[in-house]
Symmetry: C2
């Protein structure tokens, strides 16, 4: 189902249209939650960095890119092992075109960004195979809630994105612990989705935590603490604080399932005020199943920016069309917000032009 | 000169009126810059804490109070050695009454607040008598500038306050190094302003840095680095980023002189878009001379909330009328913003009522 923007209404189209109507022409604030988990360093799990050790630099570099238009903690933009650039490039381009302000939120990092960021007192996520993944989940969530409450007073709505390498695996952990069958459904930044490896890692974590499928459906704090990552409580806390007052576009792929199931357990009434904003590449992906995850939790709208890089003159962008990267740093949600803020004058074509310009400047050919 | 609000136009009344007209009914964002300097621990210098060692806790406790309505890092609200409560109580009351959102900015702290805060990568200020007061001044200022730029996109105007015990002494240092004669003109949180002690400390710092009066009038970064505190570059950076786009109410007393002289050296054109917002107690203070400092720098408006605690039923609030505390945590500016946002329906009487209610709840009688 289509609409007059370059946006695909991928689930609950009627509510999705209403959501778009409510944010049309309004002034959003983009918030990027960044964090790290040690499992990103398991070889073959994440492509959000040139090599596993470099994944610590990807989240800070992503928000440097958003706020400055260039990275500082690394010399170029974050890339996959094949050199395909971060989706933060899409986010940066969308925010810049539509003059949407951005804030970075540190949920728990090994490397701090060299730009201003919100701190929530969180720590980097540990290897979930220990069963002790995240510290101070409640404190981080409460700090995020307070931040969300205040940010909701200064923006018409929030668009919240994330950057945490390895995050789909921890999302799988939370989803399974809370009773959502997400096995072989979470997305990947690689074209060949390493489902077996993810499941193996998560099952080791569930075993170490002595948690059966669905055992923690009413205990999101424990689920995150045992087998999640720091991004999820920070993201969920922001929504908890903001969605009472303003609409919230949850900008991401299958990881949004983990945030959503946490929200549903804590304050289900807020789900009326949220939608998921993602990219066409996530909707089209045959190696994952966003809708299959979300419909198990709630019938909220899924909106997807109809981005199309097929005609791009850059290999690094055309790679998105064969399933590399797909989403991240709120790329899809930021694109949707740019289209809506500009009342449609920012089209997918205009976006691609800006993305190519920034690609050329930052990555070279 | 009066106007229809409980606001005193204490300097450049015609520009002051225009400034008030521009922010009338608009939606501000309150930003509180917090930091520490070791000189607050010199006995007799600062009353911003029950004893000098406790001054490390005052700034984080102040922003906890603003964001939560109570403190977490200490058991009650910050008080002077005589038990007089922080002006943050005024700020909290004003922001709450007018539903003004607030953000905390860490410019360099020994103790972190247990609420979300913006981090600029700054470090706590050292003893200025070493001549090496603040690290990374340029980085902190640049991070603050980026933050200010983004915050200016989401608020009609900014009100920026500060909490840094010992800050008037470091302000004196910056002012002298940059050629503003502020000796015996900076304010104090004590009724007996310890001018001699402040001058002695600053002169030791100037000597250690080998800086003569006015020697650094074109070099604010060096002045802050040698003899300032971390609050000043963070505050100035926020104004640098924001005042291009929106009005900025610099909420504070004589320390605003140090921020202003830095701004004037870096981007004088911005001074057209700023005003100082303070309290009547600062204007009425015979131990300091805000106007005498500011007029040496620029003829910008000074606005003062006409707060009057004479009739309060609490000793701890009546103490403000005999020169204790006077200003801080942006109390005056927040009060002005509350009056203007409510188009005058929040009067000084309404403010006092709310302040007394919060006083009773938080401090007891």
């Amino acid at each position: 189902m289509r609409n007059r923007f370059d946006i695909i209404l991928a689930q609950n189209a009627s509510e999705g249209k209403r959501f778009l109507g409510r944010i049309l022409g309004k002034a959003p604030l983009f918030v990027c939650v960044i964090g790290t988990t040690e499992i990103a360093k398991i070889p073959g799990l994440s492509a959000a960095g040139r090599n596993p050790e470099l994944t610590d630099y990807t989240p800070p570099a992503d928000v440097e890119l958003l706020l400055l238009g260039k990275c500082k903690c690394i010399s170029s933009v974050p890339v996959t092992p094949e050199g395909i650039p971060t989706p933060g490039l899409i986010t940066r381009s969308a925010l810049k075109l539509a003059s949407i302000p951005a804030l970075a939120v540190n949920s728990g990092l090994r490397v701090k960004p060299q730009v201003p960021f919100f701190d929530l007192g969180g720590s980097p996520g540990r290897d979930i195979r220990t069963g002790k993944a995240v510290e101070n989940v409640e404190d981080v969530m409460e700090n995020a809630r307070i931040a969300g409450e205040h940010l909701a007073k200064i923006a018409d709505y929030l668009v919240i994105g994330e950057s945490i390498p390895g995050g789909t695996t921890t999302a799988l952990g939370i989803l399974l612990a809370m009773g959502v069958d997400a096995k072989s459904k979470v997305s990947s930044s690689m074209p060949e989705n390493p489902h077996e490896l993810k499941i193996k890692v998560v099952e080791a974590g569930l075993k170490a935590s002595d948690i059966a499928f669905s055992a923690l459906s009413d205990n999101p704090v424990k689920a995150i603490s045992c087998i999640g990552d720091p991004m999820v409580p920070a993201f969920a806390g922001l929504v908890l604080g903001a969605a009472d007052r303003v609409p919230v576009l949850m900008a991401g792929g299958t990881q949004m399932g983990a945030v959503l199931v946490v929200l549903k357990a804590l304050k289900p009434v807020l789900l009326r005020n949220v939608a998921i904003g993602t990219t066409r590449w996530i909707i089209a992906d045959r190696t994952s199943d966003l809708k299959g995850i979300i419909t198990q939790i709630a019938d909220i709208p899924i909106l997807a920016a109809d981005l199309d890089f097929t005609s791009s003159r850059f290999n690094g962008l055309r790679a998105y069309e064969v399933g590399v990267v797909k989403e991240g740093v709120g790329a899809g949600g930021a694109s949707i917000a740019a289209m809506l803020k500009s009342k449609g004058s920012i089209t997918k074509g205009a976006l691609l032009k800006e993305i190519e310009m920034n690609y050329e400047k930052l990555v070279g050919i």
